[in-house]
Each structure stands twice: as C-alpha cells, then as structure tokens.
Symmetry: D2
C-alpha cells in the first residue's frame, strides 16, 4: 500500500529533515536511527518508510535543496546528503502547494495528491509554526454552526485539520496549536471516520522530564520545585519570541510534571530565543525534592539537542502508525500515541515508560 | 506479627538514619516520605513500620545518640529529633552486638534477638562498608565443602549471610559486597527455606541512569558514550577511597546502562572521596548520543543527594517486603525486588519503570 | 575611633547576618571569613570590626533573636550562635527604629544614635528590599527644588540617603534602588561633604560573570550569547517576584558583560522566585562563544550560594572603608569601591580583577 | 623581517589548524579571532601573521590537505577552507621533515629551513603528543656531561629543544613534556643566547580555573574542594589514555588552584579518553567553598571546547612574541608569557588577570 505524508510547513526545518531523511533511508545511505517504529517488536504491517510519498503546504517558496544545504551547514544534515539526494528533494518540492489559501483549495490539493499517486491513505501532519491559543467562538464548538459560517473562520492549524478530515485523511498535530482539538473538528473526524493524534511533539526537555518525574513518584520522593530555561534559535525560536505563541508552548511544556506527580509543583519553564544557537537547543532544568525525614536534595540536567533531528523520525513514526490505524478502521483521537506528545490528546498519562508500553500494545493491535 | 530488622553496620549513617527515622514515623513526627511501600497500591498485609524492632551488629561502640547528633549537624536528620527520640535510640542501642565475631556467635545473637522479642521473622540487612570482590575458593562453590571447612573462611558480608540463613532469617545485601551471592550460600538459603535479595542499593546516580537509559532505547537514540564522576564524603566515601573496595562499587555502577541498551557503551564512572562533602554526594554524568541522520547530541545531569536519607527508607521497604515474602513461603533469591538495587540478583532487568511494575506485581502477590 | 553602622532593613536576612556575624567575630567564635578588608595588604587604620556599633531602621518588629533562629534553621547561621550571642542581638535590637517615617524623623534617629554612643562616624547602608526604578521628577534633579518640595517626595531608598547626608553620614546603596543616584542627592552629598558608594552588592552570579567576561575578552574569544536563570527564595526573592522591582535588578545584572566586552551580547537574565529555596539561590548561566576560524564553543556554570552569607561580610567591608574614607575627607561618590557592586557608581569598570586592583590601591591611600 | 615557525608535530590537529588558519588570515578569509596579539595595545613591531613561514617535523606522512579535510568534517575548520587553501597547505607540507631522527639531523633541518627562506628568526614550537615525566639522569643536569654523552639520550621533546637552541632558534614548549626544562638545556639556551617559553598551553578548563580561583581569593572565600573530570577524544585524548603521559598532564592541570589560593585544596582532576568526542572536549569542575560564618556553597562549570581551535591562535601569538623577544636580545626563559601556559616556566603567578597585565607590559617593552 502506498501512503502519502502531507506536511503543513513543508519547507520548514522539520519537514526538510523528514524529506531528506526518508530519501536517505530509502537509498540505504543511513540507518533509520531515531525511528521508534523500526525497533524490534513493531509490526511489519506498517507501511515501509521507503514507500512513503511526500507533499505538503507552505507559505514560502525557498527550495528544499536550499533548505537542505542550510541544514547541512548548521550540522543537522550530513554535508554530502543534499547533493546526493538532490533529485528526491526536487521531487518532494514538486508536491508542495501554497499554504494560507481557502479551505476549499486545501481540500482539492489533498484530493489531487491522492489521485496523482494513487494513494491508499494520506496522513496530514502539521509541523509549521506554533500559533497562539484559539480565541473561543460558538462555531468552534458545533460542526453545524461551523459549516454554516464556513471553515475559513478557523485558526490556521484547524483549517488544515478540517481540510484533512474532509478529504478523508488522518491528521497529526505536531505543534501546540489548536489544530483538531476544537469540538467541532472532533465531531467532523467522527463523521468522516478518520483518526487523528497530537499534540506538540515531545522531542527534548519534556521528554527528559517525563522520564524523570516517574522516578521521583515511584520512590516516594516529594518534588518541591521544577524550574527550567530553554534556549533555542532557528525558526521555531523566532516564532516563540512572540509572547502569544510562546504561551501555547509554555502551557504545553508545563503539563507533564504535575500530571505525573499528581500535584502542582512550584516553578516554571522559560523559553528564550537565542539566534546564535541556530538549529540547536539547550535546556537546563533544576529540580528540588525532599527525601526521608524531609532532607533536601536536587537534580539538574542540561539537554543539548537538535529539534529537527529529534522531531523528523517521530513524524515518520506517526505517519506509519496513523496510516495503519486508519486502514484498521480506527476513528477519532488515538490516545495510545501519547508517547510522542507533550500534550497527549485523549490521555492523561504523561509517564514515558507507561506511554511506551501503551504504544507497543497499540502497535500489536495493528499487526 | 512482630518483625525484627537486624542491621549489619548498625552504628553507621544508614542504620542510624533507619533507626531514628522509624522511631520518628512511629511517633508520627514525620511522614514516611521516601518509603515506596507506603505508596498507594502496596498491600496492608506488610508488617507496619511502627511494629519493626531493630537490632544489629557493629564493630564500633559509639552510641546511636552520638551518631544521630552528628547526622543532625550535617543536615541529614532534623536538629530536634535526636533529643526527642533519645529513648528510642537507646533502646535500639541496647540491641546492638559486637560484629566481626565467629559465625557461631552471630547465629546466637540472632536467635537470642528472636527469643528476646518473640519475633515471628527477622530480616538481616547488610548496610556496612563495601568489601573488595571475593577471591574465589572451592569452598565458596559447594555447601558441603564450606561446612567442612567452617563458615569463618567466608568474606565478612558472606559470614553474615551464612549466619542469617542458618538462623532462619531472610537476608538483604544492600552493599556491593559478595554477601549471599556465593553458590554455597544460595544452596544454604534453599536448604533453610529462606528468601534473600540484593544487591547494592540504587539510591542516586544509578537510579537516574536507570530512568534515563530506557528513554534513549525507547526513542531509538544511540548512546555513544556515558561518563560520570561521583564525589562523596562520609564513611562510605572513605571506604571507597580504597581501590579494592572501589572496584566492587564501580563494577556495580557500570551495569545498568549496557544492560538496558543491550550493548557496551564507551565511558566509565569515577568515584572520588571528597571529605569536605560530609554525608552528601554530588554526581555528574555526561551522555553523548546520535539521533536521526547521525546528528550528535548530549545530555548531562548533576545529582546532589544524601545517601543515608535515600537508603534508609528503602531499607525499611526491603525489611517489610522480605519479611512478608518469607511468611508467604518464598525461598531463595527474590528477583522482583530488583527495583531497589544497582546489581539486581536473579534478574537482568535494569530499566527503572519495568522494575517498578514488577515490584508492584510482586507486592500484589503478597497481599 | 568608634564607628556606627546604620542598616536600613535592619531586621532583614542580610542585616541579621551582619549583626550576628559581627558579634561572633567580636567574641572570636568564628574567623572573619568572607571579609575582603581582613585580607593581607589592607591597612590597620580601618576601624576594627569588633568596634562597630549597629543600629538601623525597619518597618517590621520581629526580634533579631527570632530572625537569627530562623536563619540558623535554614543553615545560614551555625545552630549554636543565636543562643550564644543572644545578648548582642538584643543590644542591636534596642538600636532599631521604625522605618517608613518622615525624613525629619530619620535624621533625628541618626543624630540620637551618634550622641547615644559618641560615634565619630556613621555609615548608613541600605540592605532593604529592592524598589522599582524611580519615576523622574524635576525636584529629583535639583537640590533647591527638592528642599522646597520637601524630601518626603523622594522614593524610599532616596529618603534614607537624604537623611544620611543631612545627618553628616556616609551612605552605601547595597540594593539596585535609586538611593543616592538622583542628581539632587549628589548635590547634597557634595554640600554636606560626605562620601557614598553603590550600588547593588555583587554577591553571586554577577560576581562570576565579572570574573569570566574578562577571560573571553583577554583571549580574543567572541562571546555570541550569554543567558541566565536565577532561582531564589527568601524575602529578596519574594520582592523580586514583583515585575517592577525585578526590572531594577535585571537591568543591574545585565550591565557587567557588555561593559567588559565592549559590545552588546545576545541573551538575557531571568529571575524566578522559588519559595522552596529559602535563603538559598541557584543560578545557571550559559555562554556561547567563537574561537579561531569561528569555531563555536560554550561554557555553562551553576552557582549555588546564600546571598545573606555573601552580602554580610561585604557590608562590614563597606562600613569600614566608607567610614575611613569619610575620615580622610573623601566627598561624593567613591568609584574605587566598584569591586563590591553590580552597578558601580562613578565607574565604568566591571572587570573583577581590575576592580580589585583599584580597591587595593584605594585602601593603600587610606593607610 | 621574515619569521619561520617550526612546529614539532607538524601534521597534528593543532599544527594543521595553525597552518590553515594562518593561510586563511593571510587571504583575509577570516578575522584573526582568538589571537591575543591582535588585540588593541599590542605593538605593531611584532612580525605579521601574514609574514610567517611554516615548517616542522612529524613522524607521520599523512598530507596536511587530508588532515585539514578531516578537521573540517569534525567541525574544527569551516568546510570550504581546505579546498580554497589547498595550495598553501601543500606549500607547508613541502616544509615538513621526518621526526624522530638524530639530533644532528634535526639541527640541519632547521638550518636548511632558515637558509631556504632567508629567515631572520625561527621559533620552534612543540605541539606534538604529551610525553611521560623525564626519568632523571646526571647528564640532564649538566650541559658538559650531556654533550659528552650526546643529545640523543634526551627525551624526545628535549631533543627538539636542544636542536632549536643549537640552531639559534627560540623554543616554545606547548605540551607538558620536559622540553627545555632540564637544567642542561637552560644552560644551553643561555650559552646560545636564545629565549624560550612554556609550558602546556592553557586553552580550556585550566583557563577557566585560573580566572575563577582569584575570584575566591579576592573575596576571602575559602575553597574547600575542587574536583574535575575532563572528557576528550582526538589524538591528544588517545595519548592521554596512557597513564604515564596522563601523569604529566594531571600534574600540570592541578598547579593553578593551589598556586593562586596559597594552600593545598582537596580534590583532583581526572582525564578520560572518550573517542566519540573527536576533536572536542568537555570538562566539568565542581568547587565547594566556605563563606561568612562557614556557610557552605558551591560552583560548578561545564566547558565544551575544541582544543585545536583554542591552541592554534596562541601558537601564532607565541611565535610572534618569542621571535620579537629574540630580536630584542631576550635570553633564556620568558616568564612574562605565563598567560599562555598551565605551568608557566619562570613564574609562580597563575592568576589569569595578573598574567595578562604582565603580558601586556612585556609586549610594551617589545615595541
């Protein structure tokens, strides 16, 4: 079966890394390192990475070759790949359509993509810039009202989710944006019998948090404060320099710890844009906790990662899993994919190992 | 049912913290923070902390009051407790017998302790100084040969394990010392129908390692190097300043990561004695790993903990669990207690969450 | 010669630590560790710590004994001192007057303090809470206008500076508050022939910054970004939870690096109130820099300090130096004391070693 | 005046970075970032970087082009430079002679280098692998005995120093090896009227230590312990995996702190070879110190640097300064160059700022 992966923000760092990475794996130039669904125990019934066809929407028109060269300059992509895989990048380029257009046009783009390639399934994945939280409107809560008013009133990410559902595609919200979370869109996903998952890819600091918080809980150690500072450059950093967009992100980042510990914890997470860091991110977290007899102790960690390199393989994992879930008739939110997200839709579970166990059980059901 | 807890190294920092902590919990002066078996889901059939009776062996004769005062000066124990709980400490003091005596004497001490208090069960827990790895001898591999030669040829920790088994007591090896791991002693535990568990309490840096290593494995991120430096003072630090003793510890500390990742990883863990740190420990770990397309990333953490405060509640947990397992007729090694140990006897599982799941399942069986 | 030290915020953590520390040094219970003016090379002509007499203003009336006991509970002050030095604390207590009163009253308090103890000099030192930056008024720029309007229109810290100058006392602004920096007050200091120094004691993170920034400059390494997060509890932290007050502090904290490097540097310093940290502070700084051929490198540090313990000995140093400078006829700002401050009044020099050289030269002149 | 720079270890990472960097500066492709002698205040009378001619000894014969390509792959050198500057690298290649040959041959190589290029001065700089400390021999202590026995009995680094002096060249020991420090060689330098400097370039962790230690001293804060772990890959790391070689390095690394503080300090510095780090180095230092009233505090830092990029510009600085000092008739050790070294020959000063002041004064004398 041939599966299409439609990336919203198709010329961004994450999407470019996905495109060149998938091509490099197809050409056996690199192993599929970082791809969870390539680990032992994941079923062979998932669509193969080599069989995925890429397309997407973007509002810029810089070529994927150019983007790939920039990423290789900043060390995200091996220097040799952009030249070796130029043809694949051009092919993916040819499948990118202008974003920010009316919903009707977005739907046609998806339908044409399916027909052009005879795709059995398409998964639309939003890897574009973070939006501010949605300002509530009655139409967002009721599909009938929404369709009466027209879907173009939706926030950008939700317009793409709407288009995906209407075109019979699965959808993944990889950013903290509203996307498919508006009640009217959940209604639509059910009506159209399509699955979706989200939200906000858990790629770095929050990944570590969700591995460490259960450690404290399981040892009956009381976490007294958890503070953090994220320093990041790149396009994502620039977007998050805007306080409104940052709000979505910070809310999303601060969910995991209290959810795992079952109580509010003092402290907050700061996000700073530091252009000099380019595609790289440095996060420092500081945790204070109480032990036996109230003895005070602390843990701090510094994470130095590259978000595009961390996000890209998860995008491939999600495309494979959602396409297969769609094929198996799963409809609506997929709570068992919470392992991939900071703000797991349909699930209150934030502990990393428990999420992983659920993912593997889910993958088993897809066999 | 009244359970006895017999601590080898009964005047050390860990044992003193156990004694004063149990007394403080009994007097409801502090919550049982740090005690895993007090978490929701652990059965009410475990012996109550308030019902535990303490005794032990030690080669020094400094009083528990004095030790407790020293611990409060260094911030391990709240300043007010030693005075408030002086009587309890004196009572525990009265149950401590000279260590380093012949095995026959050790056995009598345990039997007399049982009779003195009409104890249904005794759990012997070794919290004394780390020994060098045992030098193999044929007698260590065969119970008949051992009993012919006499148990006094055993390394110190193993003499205590031998005495415990002969006296019908469960045993916990909380240090990296040989203790019950010699084949002859496993034979003895089976013959005497007693359970045991170990070894080397997982209290700090290794605890964090065993929470983080599965994160890398589960995300298909390849760990390229894992290096660490442990700085610790106190009696434990002084012992580990001896290269032979340190060897046992470093071997034990370096097990978790390759076991979880399923391959050897470059790098090693250093242990330094820094007297100035007193009862406190600082550990720094540095991890390099590869992501998608081989992008290099790193994680480092600094753990600042107090080993006595971290170990003491686990000693109480182990006493409760092993006593109950004994009562339920469990014999030999208890692999499901691996959650508590750096070098889990009877189990190859080092991932913290999986160990925790097994512990909870085991606790369920003890209900 | 007997010198008076008048502390504004006389019941705060810093002032309490000053009072008990000076008493402990007088009683030879502790060495004068942390006192710069006790280092070799500082002249014997400075007033002796043992001879200083303490008084001050505060708006609260909790006793110094109570404050000292709390500080000892949080580990700032050795547990035994508050009891041993209770009488000294009561004596200092008896010299504290209500703050927040009209300037006329403040002046009388100083005059009475001088007469009561036959003091040759008084140094007023502001160690109270940080204020927001002053809202400009014409009267602040012109002494005649100010005295016409009445000094009670001044911001709180400046009222104390005004009172100090009018009473013929030297003044030290140890906070980032406006204090003596208003032109009208500089005029007054000149008219009254009194010296002053400031501002914002350089006790922790900024101290390290001012030691490291010259290292980069002197090696021709280009600093590309410098970011930081300060986590602090205590009264200071609570005050700085207020954005207006925090503004003063952040401005002050961000001066050193660009001043030393001679150019603006990307990045900023965050301040978070984390009540759980009590009297302690943890600061993390992250620096990226370019080397030869533009190679990117980084340095990060974590500072874990106790502001009161770091500030108190500097308050004693400043009292001794300003009193002696006053005696030697120095008038107006004392730029050579920049070593002690984040925002050195009268000097653009922020490099720590250069500031230290100037301080020693200045001390030489006071011999 | 044309100055020759003769590098021992001419095909190593540092030497290759020096060669390509000097060529890039000559071609105005990069600024001379990291070069101290390019800072304002250094005299124009120093030989220009663009005028330096490079040659050297090495025991391997891999081409500089190849080495430069490898360095660019590991991010030490911009990817475009090796191709752009291939001709310069070939020219430098042509001036490299086989190392490890008899002293007589080494001398001839230097003499021929001078004649070939009509050089007014040559500075020999050892940037080869670290040697173990020298095993004392009577000949090392007396020039007459040494020349009777023949210079080939010297340790490798000292043979190069001997050859340099005999050929009338200045010498810089950039490694912790014995080099010119044997009394017989000091005698020779005096007899031949040549200057020398050393030893062990202060490029990373020790640089930071020498900036921070004076901060503690100048604030009368008592350093209680200073521990560190260095993780490094590359050729240097591989050499230092040998305990004997590591000994030289660790001795050299542990000099700065006690020298600045005037007392021994608990703790040590570990060096680990971590091949995965390639040309990069990560060092973590942990410092505990006492403040006022004995309050315990701590500072830790993590340095992530590239030794070649840090060392190369200092090699250029030293070549310029030693050549000029030679021209000005300076003979023997140059203590004012201690700013560049972990183990400053001829000087007990380890404080970075004081060393920098002395360097600038010295540079002034060379004007």
């Amino acid at each position: 079966m041939t599966v299409g992966v439609w990336l919203v923000g198709a010329r961004g760092s994450v999407a470019t890394t996905v495109a060149i990475g998938a091509a490099a794996i197809r050409s056996a130039l690199v192993p599929a390192q970082g791809c969870v669904t390539e680990l032992p125990g994941f079923p062979g019934t998932l669509p193969r990475i080599a069989d995925l066809v890429f397309g997407g929407h973007d509002i810029t028109d810089i070529s994927l070759r150019k983007r790939a060269e920039r990423l290789s300059e900043s060390g995200v992509v091996p220097a040799t790949l952009p030249a070796q895989l130029g043809r694949d990048l051009d092919a993916a380029d040819a499948e990118i359509r202008p974003g920010g257009v009316p919903v009707a046009r977005l739907i046609e783009d998806l339908v044409e993509f399916r027909e052009r390639h005879g795709l059995s399934r398409i998964v639309v994945i939003n890897v574009s810039s973070t939006e501010p939280p949605a300002v509530p409107r009655p139409e967002f809560g009721d599909l009938a009202l929404l369709e009466a008013a027209g879907a173009d009133i939706l926030p950008s990410s939700s317009r793409y989710a709407y288009a995906a559902f209407r075109a019979g595609c699965g959808y993944v919200e990889f950013t903290p944006s509203p996307g498919p979370t508006l009640p009217a869109l959940m209604e639509l996903a059910a009506r159209e019998s399509v699955p979706y998952a989200g939200r906000d890819g858990k790629t770095g600091e929050t990944l570590v948090k969700s591995a460490l918080a259960p450690m404290f809980a399981g040892r009956a150690l009381r976490v007294r404060s958890w503070s953090g500072l994220n320093l990041l450059g790149g396009g994502d950093g620039a977007t998050l320099a805007d306080p409104a967009a940052r709000a979505s992100k910070e809310i999303s980042k601060d969910r995991a710890v209290p959810a795992v510990l079952g109580e509010e914890v003092e402290g907050r997470t700061h996000i700073d844009y530091v252009a000099d860091l380019g595609e790289w991110k440095t996060a420092w977290d500081h945790v204070t906790f109480d032990g036996f007899l109230g003895t005070r102790m602390s843990l701090q960690f510094t994470w130095q990662g590259c978000d595009s390199a961390l996000a890209a393989p998860l995008v491939l994992d999600l495309a494979r899993l959602v396409a297969r879930a769609h094929e198996k008739g799963r409809v609506g939110v997929l709570p068992d994919l919470g392992y991939f997200f900071k703000d797991p839709l349909g699930s209150g579970e934030h502990g990393l190992s428990t999420q992983y166990d659920r993912l593997r059980a889910f993958a088993g059901e897809l066999a």
